[in-house]
Subunit: 370 residues, 2 copies
Amino acid sequence: MEFRITHRSKDCRARTGEIELPSGDFETPVFMPVGTKGSVKAVSPEDLGEAGVRIILANTYHLYLRPGHRIIGRLGGLHRFMNWSGPILTDSGGFQVYSLTPLRTISEKGVTFQSHIDGSRHFIGPEEAIDIQETLGADIIMAFDECVPYPSDYDYVRRSVELTTSWARRSLDRKRRSDQALFGIVQGGMYADLRETSARELVKMAFDGYALGGLSVGEDRATRLRVISETVDFLPQDKPVYLMGVGTPEDLIEAVILGVDMFDCVMPTRNARNGTLFTTTGKMSIRNATYAEDGRPVDENCDCYTCSNYSRAYLRHLFMAREILSYRLNTIHNLSYYSRLMADLRTAVQEDRLFEYCTKFYGLQEKGIG
Amino acid sequence: MEFRITHRSKDCRARTGEIELPSGDFETPVFMPVGTKGSVKAVSPEDLGEAGVRIILANTYHLYLRPGHRIIGRLGGLHRFMNWSGPILTDSGGFQVYSLTPLRTISEKGVTFQSHIDGSRHFIGPEEAIDIQETLGADIIMAFDECVPYPSDYDYVRRSVELTTSWARRSLDRKRRSDQALFGIVQGGMYADLRETSARELVKMAFDGYALGGLSVGEDRATRLRVISETVDFLPQDKPVYLMGVGTPEDLIEAVILGVDMFDCVMPTRNARNGTLFTTTGKMSIRNATYAEDGRPVDENCDCYTCSNYSRAYLRHLFMAREILSYRLNTIHNLSYYSRLMADLRTAVQEDRLFEYCTKFYGLQEKGIG
């Protein structure tokens, strides 16, 4: 992996860059849609490309359980399996083990857990997480970590950071493939000194990038921004910074200002399937009766496939009738919105007018849907 | 509407032809996928085009109830509403009124019924059916008919044929738009003489084409083929013959031999969503564990988007994981299969080797999935 910073903002920590990976290149800051089970829900790889998506995330935990990483490996790896030739990042499975499984036991060795699908018992430690991710074959893989619940008391988080640090070391030691980049994950709950400890320990190791984990777990926005800001201070300036599982357009803008380069979140895709569409003038619930006879596109400022070809009235009809096409058209729009947001942010950073962009963005959002 | 017969088989009633409509031309025999509520389930207009689809059917009953034909009319008609620029045929709503509504009362005037969605009361007679279809704006519209249950006693069907004949007359009288073709629907249950009566009465009127209704309602295959054969005898040779709601690939082949030009059925799309895929060597249930590691395409003889890009293993995974993409990829394949089947039948008719084609078709089907 190559990471080149192309511009640093004069006013804040924001920067633009380029990441080169075996499956392709892209500019940062970048948003990665989530393809949990080897499919970004409701859309095809071609749809993703047309929506401006350059890298996607897939969930190791889900693919490990179903269809199984070995099957994917024998069929030529995840890129070929899902017919997506661009870059892929896989998470380590840690987050899902803590958030989805009915029972789990954590030890120094790793985590024993029950499948949320059939209750079968499994074990994943740092070595297994790396092995699985090497078999899946993503361009970027993640170290195994413990994601602590929120809130957690100081002593628990302190011990957890020690575990995550040790697992990060073992993840690095286990790595065999030279064509995959490996990122470490900073934990430490909402405690500034533990985030610092976690970051300092990981930076001692030769990771290709650094992720901020354990956020968007229930903390308020101010706390989240504080933790991001305090953590980024201790990360090397020449490595990509990846904020995991965040978030709304506003979250992305603020995190870019704080120096974050990469994002993933189910927000655009999940909202699309719930009928919530992002527009330059705010969020729209397409089920609203207001749109029953509205012949306009979702967003007059959007040139995505959905906005180029379908009216609000038709999209409302599809959603109310639970037509499968509804989920695809809504998802294409929301992903296009996120791609354009990131492209606009990159341009604003490069032209040193990020705050001007923010002022305009929030002004338009307050205007509301026309 | 123009209908030109391009070839008549030497051995049977099969023929090929061309139909010209305001929204486009296509060759017959043709299969029309069903876009019940203004969307062929799980696919986009572009997907349809790539799958070789040239004309689709939409259901008047469903669109009348939701979103309402007037809304569609005010938004520029059904073609524009659903972004499908090719030919559309709308049914008259009759079949759904009889098959879906919880309560209905039939009189000489028309049918009073309750919506299957919210129980609201509605009335549709031949005049209303034509008005609604003129507002929707399809290229081909259908006369309002009574579709009798199976089995029904002779006297009931006899009186029903009289009603259908009278409604056909009134449908013709009501028609105002000159850019839409209007087809009459032959009824008569499984009674040869009533089918003859129905056909003879309709042929006296100036319909642009003739449909066989009231089939695929529970009768056995032999009865269905007998009724098709007996009815086609009484229809004019220079008008398209449309067999409504039928059916399997085998049904289509046999009906083509009997002189049918047009078909519609939910079979390829509904089966796709249930994981049943059509192939040149028979039907495949993609959920079968046999395919868990099968890297081959669904059908080695198929060049559709799905077969060109995805393995049986991936399609099985998507289906088992209930991923939305599963329904789209399966539907694209099944529609492509039906398009190719019809194209192969047209070629076989034109080259006067239809029976050779049938022998090969049934031979391959018996071979089973490899």
